[in-house]
Amino acid sequence: MMEFKKKVSEMISLWIGEEVAVEWRIDIKGVMTGWCRLQEGTLILPAAEAVACLEGRLSMITAYLSEQAKLKGVREISFHFDLNGTTLTLSIELPLEGARIPSLTHIFRNADWNEREFMELYDIQVVGHPDPRRLFLDKSIDPAAFERLIPYSTFSNGANSKALWEKVMAQNNHTGKEIP
């Protein structure tokens, strides 16, 4: 196990060009996970190359905007990799405005949809994405949807339900059986 941990740290350090410390945790069930925060957002590209060299795969990418990070003036993205059954999470910090990050799609094909998703939910530009179209949201909807407060009454005012129920009630004027 020590050898595995050492190999991961060395490979990432080699690709990044500086010493990287991965924190390894083991939970009560004996599951080991690795955690590492990279100094710069752009370092995710060589780090991903390192994971690919270790024959790891990308599980998913999570972009998030926590209150704690916002106080520090940053946003975060966590990249969750799988190394033969062990999860390695590499996190990066990006500025709140004008965040840019290199695409990993050419290394891990499944980064494609993850990157397209967080591009439409957050104000993050992915540089070098082969197909940066909207994934889920329609073009008519303003980007960075998760960065705006959208009152529930704005995106769902119930007008459709109201109109349909008016038609239902107009054609069924309480004709149910009355209980004696």
Partner: protein, 303 residues
Amino acid sequence: MEALPENDPIPPVRLYRINAGSCNGCDVELATTASVARFDVERWGCRYSESPADADIVLITGPLTVRVRDKVLRLYGEVSEPKVTVAVGVCPISGGVFRDSYAVVGPIDRYLPVDINVPGCPPHPRALGAGIAKAATLWRERCGYTQPSPELASPGNYDGDAVAPTGLRGKMRFNAAACVGCRMCEHVCAGGAIRFDETDTGLHFTLWHNSCAFCGLCSHYCPTKALSVTDEWQMSHLQEDKYRLVEQGVVSFVPCTDCGSILLPVAPELLRVAYRETSREIERLKTLCPECRQKQSIGGIRR
């Protein structure tokens, strides 16, 4: 799968399927109508077409999302007239559980004329078969075929046998006599299919089957089981009946036997849940309004 007789003068009716943003639940059920012998649409003289230009009947699944609206309308426009349109599942009919979402622009009849609705979430393959058979009959009428297709001559053919499969979640049924008016069903209803209206005479319950997802949550949470899931699957209907497909009931108010103010009657099912057995005193108290009950409970004769 039964082949059409060689001398059948009526050509097969061609079906074209459009997914208008469906979760694919209805599409999976539709797949059975092309791959499982006892549900096969060929039994009703129909077959699936790969091109809208060759189709006679359009089957639409999904709530019609913003993303696919234009594509759906373009494909629909490519189907030549006369055509018959079938809304498959509650989503295209009413929006179902997706109604009022910013990403949904349906129901589809806002954009194109619908002829037949097959509610369900998803509808059982038999219900799909019945809806498709009705659509085929309608299409043949529109085309001027006076002689009915032999497959469709008897409605019993496509209504299927009377026995529903075990565990089938069908139409919901309401028993007003057991309702206590807690409105929990309205609260938990995934599709917004239930509403209560209070009038001077009582509490009016309405369940619109065209928005019901058959999830059974209303029945699960109903403390007195005034709502129950039946195995009735045959719900396909003409568009003109869309808003009439309801389950209704009225819980009439009764006067308090002491002061005369109105109250909802206490259902025997509620007493069974609360006390298991009732006594003469409980029977007497249940006819009183809360205020009189309180007065009598506190200030009444002590035993």
